[in-house]
């Protein structure tokens, strides 16, 4: 299966490190990617599920397709101030 690299931002970076690598079937969607990352990081699943996905610097919905050639980021909402 293709290997994807996901860049983590903010609270997710603190929790899981700067990047997460995972294998995902070709043609998987952003929603499936989030579920797979949540399974890989069970302690931080709630945060992953509530994060936005950006593909090639564009915020995308759950049905967008993601692949190994894409720059993928997961961003939780940032809440301090």
């Amino acid at each position: 299966m293709p290997l994807l690299t996901v860049h983590c931002y903010a609270a997710l970076r603190e929790a899981a490190g700067a990047r997460v690598e995972l294998e995902l079937p070709a043609g998987s969607t952003a929603g499936e990617l989030k579920r797979a990352v949540a399974e890989q990081l069970p302690d931080h699943a709630a945060l992953v599920e509530r994060s936005a996905v950006a593909v090639n610097r564009r915020l995308v919905g759950p049905t967008e397709t993601v692949g190994p050639e894409d720059e993928i980021a997961l961003l939780p909402p940032v809440s301090g101030g």
């Binding site: 903010a10 945060l47 509530r50 909402p77 940032v78 809440s79």
Partner: protein
């Protein structure tokens, strides 16, 4: 010499734009690292009316990152909104400044934001931000979302109906306890200043009638990373701006609300928005007299009183709210409030 000559000469501002700023009204919710810096920029830019909303009293650890405030303000135990008003009115005595030493909750949000043409997010928690999103989107008000954590920061200008709102991108806030907070992660002050500047810039653009750049900015000033993530339009499936369901606003404020507010403390709100209606505020003098026989020394100024009892430091504001430092136990906080402040 014209006070705004370096601003009016900018393309798209001019005398007409300056007049728009002068007749505009911005509400700033939360006057911490983000809100205080944004307030400084907006008053200097000549925004005619600024509504200052904050529920807290100044503490020494605020000074590392929060603009405007001084050690004397901390020594005087000033509420942030009042301290901000004093410094902003020294910067521009002609600015109209409305102070609300109050908690923006589901019961008070719409009243507190009344009259604002734009709202700046200076809050420090998810709960108030989601409420702010509901309040702004339901009334069609543009607002700027900004947040910081450590040396990372995020900002997005939100124009309801034209751009995604907070819930389009993040339909639900992370559950309590699932996220590191500013207490443990800290705040790199330069990041907060950059985010506050981006928010203030977007607010000025909204007041000028311009559309700020769409999308979400995420940056880390300590590592030099900065990205702008493009966003499409509003999400038709968004519970707030797509479906018109304002869950956080409609949650209502009934009964006494006790909420954790970080650093081993809780915030207690009596039912209703007393300060907003101007009715039913506490008689701080009478309360101080009663408490002094109960707990010993009570420190007091026109906005609040502060005392220690049973290992908890209680700060009671004139609108009836109390900040309790030294307990995270909600039931205990309710009990302390009932015994020392009254219900």
């Amino acid at each position: 010499m014209d006070r705004y000559s370096r601003q009016t000469v900018l393309p798209g501002v001019g005398a007409e734009g300056q007049a728009r700023l002068g007749s505009g009204c911005a509400a700033i919710v939360g006057l911490g690292a983000l809100g205080s810096a944004a307030a400084d920029l907006l008053v200097r830019a000549g925004v005619g009316h600024i509504i200052l909303i904050d529920r807290d009293v100044l503490e020494l650890h605020n000074l590392q990152r929060q603009s405007l405030y001084t050690e004397q303000d901390v020594a005087d135990r000033l509420p942030k909104a009042e301290a901000a008003r004093r410094h902003l009115s020294a910067i521009d005595p002609h600015a109209r400044l409305t102070v609300h030493i109050a908690d923006l909750d589901a019961g008070t949000a719409l009243d507190l934001l009344e009259g604002a043409d734009v709202v700046v997010d200076g809050t420090d928690n998810y709960e108030t931000r989601y409420l702010l999103n509901d309040a702004a989107v339901s009334t069609g008000r543009p607002w700027t979302y900004g947040g910081v954590l450590g040396s990372e920061g995020t900002m997005m200008a939100i124009h309801p109906g034209q751009t995604p709102c907070l819930r389009c991108l993040f339909p639900d806030p992370p559950p309590a306890g699932s996220v590191v907070t500013c207490e443990t992660m800290g705040v790199w002050a330069p990041t907060a200043r950059v985010i506050a500047s981006l928010e203030a810039g977007a607010a000025l653009q909204f007041l000028l009638g311009e559309e700020p750049a769409p999308g979400l900015v995420h940056l880390d000033t300590r590592s030099g990373r900065l990205v702008r993530l493009e966003s499409g339009g509003p999400d038709p499936d968004c519970p707030a701006c797509g479906q018109g369901r304002y869950d956080h606003l409609e949650a209502g404020a009934s009964g006494m609300a006790v909420r954790p507010c970080g650093g081993g403390s809780v915030h207690v709100s009596p039912p209703g928005g007393r300060m907003v209606t101007g009715e039913g505020g506490l008689d701080l003098e009478a309360l101080a007299r009663r408490l002094s026989s109960q707990v010993g020394e009570v420190k007091q100024n026109p906005y609040l009183l502060q005392f220690d009892a049973e290992g908890v430091r209680m700060t009671v504001f004139a609108d009836g709210r109390a900040l309790m430092q030294g307990t995270e136990d909600r039931a205990r906080a309710r009990s302390l409030y009932a015994r020392f402040v009254g219900t």
